[in-house]
Amino acid sequence: MNIKAARMTSASLGVFLLACTVAPAAFAVADPKEMLPDPKQEARAEAVGSQLRCLVCQNESIEDSNADLAKDLRAIVRQRIVAGDSNQQIMDWMVARYGNFVRLRPPLMASTVLLWATPVLGLLFGGLAAFYGRRRFGTPPAPLTTAEQARLRELTGAP
């Protein structure tokens, strides 16, 4: 590889790395006009918004989405924060309209018990398997007694 090519590769690598670090931030609220002037309130709005599902794209939060509906929902979150609503009140407002589906973090309820219990069940079953496995394979057999050694020599015909 000549020097020019090497320089180009490292330059494009640099651009790539820069894109990796910059891109995620660029996807959040695209228009600075949307942001609240108070950074504390804006941080709260982003925290609430990142817990709300964009209903158009479904696996993005409304903070990450450029969909029209997500933009409107972002604006509503900010209006309600300025109006003095708590995070919980805003969440309840959204759930009243869109159901629990709007929450990216599913609440603990009858239909989600198995979902929430999965890590605990995994640890439990894994622990049991490890415990029984150790018990079965862990203890080495006792060394042969003198009589057994004699019998072994007799059977194998070794000196």
Binding site: L55, V56, D68, L69, D72, L73, I76, V95, A96, R97, Y98, G99, F101
Partner: protein, 187 residues
């Protein structure tokens, strides 16, 4: 040979896999019968009164309010349809809405952040099934109704309660399997 604990331990994973298999089979079976749709978007307002709102004039429509809708539904259940002039599935369900309207089902349309000229063109091109039309200028009405996107349809009974809801374009099957039974139940 007797049944030992070792046998029980060997059979346990098989039993779990078997139970999971039966559960999946049941789920697929219900999906094919149309009783279960994993992609269905459920609206928490079903079974509750529709929210307060007002929509502005657009196209040939003069707009309407929650009070107008409540009064009309008290006489005959109304199918409220959210649409937009640029929306392809809305054009796709236009014929179906037209035939429902021709049968005597009142269909009311709410356009989402749409424009005068585009809505008029849409209705000229695909037909106008709507008894009343209004525009959700700010996009707040659709959010209060819990609408995900256009098209979306709601059936309002005589007491102003949302009886049925579907997010997406209507199809012959859907009308036959869900909307008609729902209409019959509240007729």
């Amino acid at each position: 040979m007797s049944f030992t604990r070792r046998h029980a331990l060997m059979l346990a994973p098989l039993a779990v896999a078997g139970a999971a298999g039966v559960a999946f089979w049941k789920m697929l079976d219900r999906m094919s019968e149309g009783k279960f749709d994993p992609h269905a978007l459920n609206n928490p307002l079903v079974g509750k009164p529709f929210p307060d709102f007002a929509v502005s004039p657009i196209g040939p429509g003069k707009g309407f309010t929650a009070a107008d809708l409540r009064a009309a539904a008290a006489v005959k259940p109304v199918l409220v349809n959210f649409f937009a002039s640029y929306c392809i599935p809305c054009a796709g369900e236009a014929d179906l809405l037209g035939s429902l309207s021709a049968e005597g089902v009142p269909v009311w349309g709410i356009a989402w952040k749409d424009h005068q000229k585009e809505v008029s063109q849409f209705l000229d091109r695909y037909g106008d099934p709507f008894a009343r039309i209004g525009n959700d200028e700010t996009g707040r009405v659709i959010i209060d109704w819990g609408v995900y996107g256009v098209p979306e349809s709601f059936l309002i009974d005589r007491n102003g309660i949302i009886r049925w809801h579907y997010a997406g374009g209507l199809s012959d099957d859907l009308v036959h399997d869900e909307l008609r039974p729902a209409l019959k139940a509240i007729a």
